[in-house]
Amino acid sequence: METRESTLELLLVEDNPSDLELALHALRKHRLANHIKVARDGVEALEYLFGSSTLPQQHVHERPKVVLLDLKLPLINGLEVLARIKADPRTQNIPVVVLTSSREDPDIAECYRLGANSYIVKPVDFEQFSESIRLLGLYWVVTNQPPPE
């Protein structure tokens, strides 16, 4: 999914393969899938962003325009990934949109406290889900002016 010749636009962190496929499908459908990197768990996401999931980071690998972050992730969960992104001055300006299955999540408040830019409940209804993805991509990738490097 990654294309070298152009800037990465979207980092999608999602462990559930069905959700991943549906999300990619929706992104493709709305022509937002050109520069996407997918991470399947928290470790992968952090490694991608910082080169390592544990060490203090030497460099920032890539600066996507937006990170779509599922909370329930194996190994390192979404909250921690969020905390790490927002704690590092180099990445804290990257908008993070938290995706979750349920509005029941007790972590909503925690997400906002950590600096999540948006919080989206993945609806069961695919049309709604697809629409959410479209609006989200449209806003953060196309409309929103990214912070200067």
Partner: protein
């Protein structure tokens, strides 16, 4: 226009007339001179010339006569007149020339006359120069003399001509004068008429200027006399009348103010109103910025002054309220001198005249003041103190009306004081009457006041009750009409005269405690004790007060008592519990059978014992403290459990209840003791102690178990929360996948699918969606028990309106009539209460969807002290036998095809209502609509 004085008016009139007359005179004189044409000089010239001619003629005659005499006689003496005349004539002729030159037409004649005179004289002179002829009668002489005569005749003719001319001239002068006199007369007449006219006009003006205001003043004076004080006097006229009018106006205002004051004083008995009226009256008399009215009074025997009224800006340190006269410098000064004090400028008061209040008044912006004593009957009753912001406002004259009215104020004050006293007396009378009536009505005893003629003047309710009638009936009749059968206690009927009331009236002495019997309509025979107290005038009793008590019951009690005493004695003897009468030193005076039986002795044996001897040696001391307290009167009775020794030696547990009998004087007489055998109870107690011990152990164990259970329960709740969370995540994820991929298939691979497969896929996605909704509802439901309740005061009606707005898409295109009743405020969690209303209202909308017009009512009622809200619809309703299932989770009373829904809504509603401490119930019938009622517990209502 500046008003003139009357003198001024007159002066003005006369000056005017004089001026006009002078002008008229000047005009006339001018006119006369024009019309006359000749003046005095002309007339005198004519006269003088005439006289001159005559004189010259006479002298000429003298000459001629003298000459003739001479000629006749030859005697020179005759020539003397001739020479005299000849000497005078030249001067006269000279004068004649002058005069003739001024007399028109006379000069030629004068010249002729002169020439002829000269001619004659020349002849005469010539004659004289010659000697006298010797023959006087010679023809020559005669001829010569005839020649002289002709010359003289000619002279005379000339003289006559001139005289004739002059005569004509004098005639002309006369004519002219007569004409002038006529003109003059006419003018004079005109002037006199004009002068009279002007005089009349000026007089009329002057008179009108004076009389009109006088008449008006007279009318106004009459009007004031008739009592018309309301209209101001505004009369204009000469200064004197203007001042008179002003004086009358002042008088009218004063009269009116006095009238108003008198009226207001006469019409009120309230002191404050009198003061206010007086202050307003004073304002009409003398302007002021501040006024205080002080009234003399007496406090503790000392004269004092009390400021009863004040108005205007307060002055610092002013003595307001009541103060002794000695402390009130201002009032004291006025009281002593009884004359007003006027200070035209408070800043200029000399130190020795200072009253000490000037600076404070100046500080309050006041410049001058006046203190006016109010004198009534030569006595100062009070004082009025006036202040003004202007200097020199008050004068004796201004203040006089205030003083003049002091007696009225004094009278009003006296009236008001008297009225207050009357009020107080009336109040005291009312209170005393109230007291008397209260006492009378609260008496258990019947009381009747009866006059000597038998009329009943007063009766209380007890009297009416005892006599079986009403107070009104009693008051309406004569006491002797009552159908009382009067009897002595045990004897025959009393005659009417022996009724204690009559007895008291007749003898004037009270009768007491007379026992009487009488028949009541409702209760039959009754017994009364009657007291009769006569009320005495100087001439004997005029009324009697009867008080009586119904002792029918007491009498019955006394009778019953005698019987019951007998019964009581039996009861004691055969009572199941033991009883004993014990002397203060512990001896048994009387015992009953039960007591004897309990201890195994006979009655006779027991009477030889003391209490102590029967008591277990361990319990001897137990009851001593209680006994002492009973004897001291601290307690009436006491109870004690103690052991006695049975005759056969075993211990008997007995509960003793002891009370102390006292005589009428309060001295202790005996103990009365009751004995209850409690041996069995004591055994039971021992057993109980043992069992309680066991129970304690058990309950301790239970407590441990409860704690464990609670911990388990808490764990379960936590597990439930975790479960909810995982349900939301884990159940929804696959559903999303099912729905998502179905949709993708349907949208992007439709052609590849058989039509049937498409339909099935459609169903799959629909079901997945439905399950999503189910999960959401279920989670919301479970969340309700965890979510903290935050209540606040709410306007239910606003909330309902909000919800209806949210539901407008369900209402659109339907005929829905929603009626929102008068909903009180309530105390609730706004989000949760809104959920309740959303669920109930959307249900109501849902189940009325087949109605042509949906009627939905949101109402409120109070029922058994509960605040009940309800949502009522005219929908399909339901059978009440399913009511218990209504609020269960996933419970549905209708098919999904007919009415969509998950069956969680009402369960949520119930959960929310329960969380608020309220309850919910429904009332419905199939096809007749449903009503859901709910309360919000004690937190609802008008919070």
């Amino acid at each position: 226009m500046v008003p003139l004085s009357i003198r001024g008016h007159l002066l003005l009139g006369f000056v005017g007339v004089a001026a006009i007359l002078i002008v008229a005179w000047l005009i006339t004189a001018n006119r006369l001179s024009v019309v006359g044409g000749n003046d005095t000089a002309t007339v005198m010239t004519t006269d003088a010339l005439t006289k001159n001619v005559f004189a010259r003629m006479k002298l000429n005659d003298d000459e001629e006569t003298g000459l003739r005499g001479y000629l006749l006689t030859g005697k020179p003496e005759f020539l003397q007149p001739y020479h005299a005349a000849r000497q005078q004539l030249p001067a006269l002729r000279q004068l004649g020339d002058v005069l003739a030159s001024q007399e028109p037409g006379a000069l030629p004649l004068q010249k002729t006359m002169r020439q002829r005179a000269v001619a004659w004289e020349s002849w005469a002179q010539a004659l004289l120069r010659r000697p006298l002829p010797a023959t006087p009668r010679s023809p020559a002489v005669i001829r010569e003399q005839m020649q002289g005569k002709a010359l003289n005749d000619r002279l005379r003719t000339a003289s006559t001509d001139l005289l004739r001319l002059l005569d004509a001239r004098r005639q002309g002068h006369l004519q002219t004068s007569i004409g002038t006199l006529d003109t003059l007369r006419t003018w004079l007449l005109g002037i006199v008429v004009a002068a009279l006219g002007l005089l009349a006009f000026a007089g009329r003006h002057t008179i009108r200027a004076v009389t009109r205001p006088l008449v008006q003043l007279e009318q106004r004076a009459r009007a004031i006399g008739r009592g018309d004080l309301g209209n101001p006097i505004d009369v204009r006229g000469p200064v004197e009348l203007f001042r008179l009018a002003e004086a009358m106006e002042r008088m009218r205002r004063q009269l009116r103010s006095q009238h108003e004051l008198a009226t207001s004083i006469g019409s009120t008995l309230q002191l404050d109103d009198v003061y206010a009226a007086f202050a307003s009256y004073i304002r009409d008399m003398a302007p002021y910025e501040r006024l205080t009215l002080s009234i003399g009074t007496v406090v503790d025997g000392e004269p004092a002054i009390s400021t009863v009224y004040s108005t205007g800006p307060a002055i610092a340190g002013e003595e307001i309220g009541q103060s002794p006269l000695s402390a009130h410098s201002v009032a004291r000064t006025v009281y002593v001198t009884q004359t007003p004090i006027i200070r035209d400028n408070l800043s200029d008061v000399r130190p020795e005249e200072s009253l000490g209040d000037e600076q404070a008044a100046l500080d309050a912006g006041l410049r001058s003041d006046a203190i006016v004593p109010l004198l009534s009957d030569g006595r100062a009753i009070g004082a009025v103190h006036l202040w003004s912001r202007q200097p020199a406002v008050y004068s004796q004259q201004v203040l006089e009306p205030i003083q003049a009215f002091a007696p009225f104020v004094a009278a009003a004050l006296e009236n008001a004081r008297l009225y207050e006293k009357v009020q107080q007396a009336a109040q005291a009378l009312r209170e005393s009457k109230d007291l008397y009536e209260t006492v009378l009505s609260s008496l258990e005893e019947g009381v009747i006041l009866q006059y000597a003629d038998g009329r009943i003047g007063a009766a209380n309710h007890s009297a009416a009750r005892i006599l079986g009638t009403t107070v009104d009936q009693l008051l309406g009749q004569s006491g002797y009409d009552l159908q009382w059968t009067i009897a002595n206690a045990d004897g025959p009927s009393l005659s009417g005269d022996l009724h204690p009331a009559r007895e008291a009236l007749r003898t004037g002495k009270p009768s007491t405690n007379i026992l009487m019997e009488f028949q009541t309509a409702d209760r039959g025979q009754a017994w009364l004790t009657v007291n009769a107290q006569p009320l005495l005038h100087d001439d004997g009793p005029y009324a009697v007060v009867c008080s009586f008590t119904d002792i029918t019951v007491s009498r019955a009690v006394v009778g019953a008592l005698r019987e019951s005493e007998e019964r009581f004695r039996n009861a004691v003897d055969y009572a199941p519990i033991g009883m004993a009468l014990v002397s203060l030193d512990g001896r048994l005076l009387q015992v009953n059978q039960a007591f004897s039986t309990a201890l195994g002795y006979t009655e006779q044996e027991l009477l030889t014992f003391t209490f102590t001897e029967l008591t277990h040696s361990d319990d001897l001391e137990n009851h001593l403290p209680s006994m002492r307290r009973a004897v001291a009167g601290e307690i009436h009775s006491y109870q004690i459990d103690k052991r006695y020794i049975h005759k056969d030696g075993h211990t008997v547990w007995i509960r003793v209840s002891v009370s102390l009998l006292r005589n009428a004087a309060g001295d202790p007489l005996h103990y009365v003791a009751q004995f209850e055998d409690i041996s069995q109870r004591k055994q039971a107690e021992a057993a109980l102690v043992a069992s309680e011990h066991a129970y304690r152990e058990l309950s301790a164990e239970l407590e441990v178990r409860v704690e464990a259970r609670t911990a388990q329960l808490e764990m379960a709740v936590r597990e439930l929360e975790a479960f909810s969370y995982s349900v939301s995540h884990d159940l929804r994820a696959p559903l999303r996948a099912v729905h998502g991929f179905s949709r993708i298939l349907l949208e992007e691979h439709k052609q590849a699918l058989a039509p049937e497969a498409g339909r099935y896929l459609e169903l799959v996605s629909q079901e997945a969606q439905k399950m999503g909704v189910l999960i959401d509802d279920l989670l919301r439901f479970s969340r309700l028990s965890r979510q903290p309740l935050t209540t606040q005061p709410l306007f239910m009606a606003n909330l309902v309106q909000e919800v209806l707005d949210d539901l407008r898409f369900d209402i659109e295109g339907r005929k829905v009539e929603v009626e929102i009743g008068d909903l009180p405020r309530c105390q609730a969690d706004p989000a949760l209460l809104k959920q309740v209303l959303v669920n109930l209202l959307s249900n109501a909308l849902k189940f009325t969807q087949l109605r042509e017009t949906a009627h939905i009512t949101v109402g409120y009622k109070e029922q058994n002290d509960e605040h009940v809200y309800f949502v009522k619809d005219n929908g399909v309703g339901f059978d009440m036998k399913y009511a218990p299932k209504l609020f269960g989770v996933f419970q549905r009373l209708h098919r999904v095809e007919d009415y969509a829904g998950t069956g969680v809504g009402l369960a949520i509603v119930q959960r929310i209502v329960h969380r608020h401490g309220g309850r919910i119930w429904a009332d419905a019938a199939p096809d007749e609509g449903a009503t859901f009622y709910f309360t919000l517990g004690s937190s609802s209502g008008n919070a």
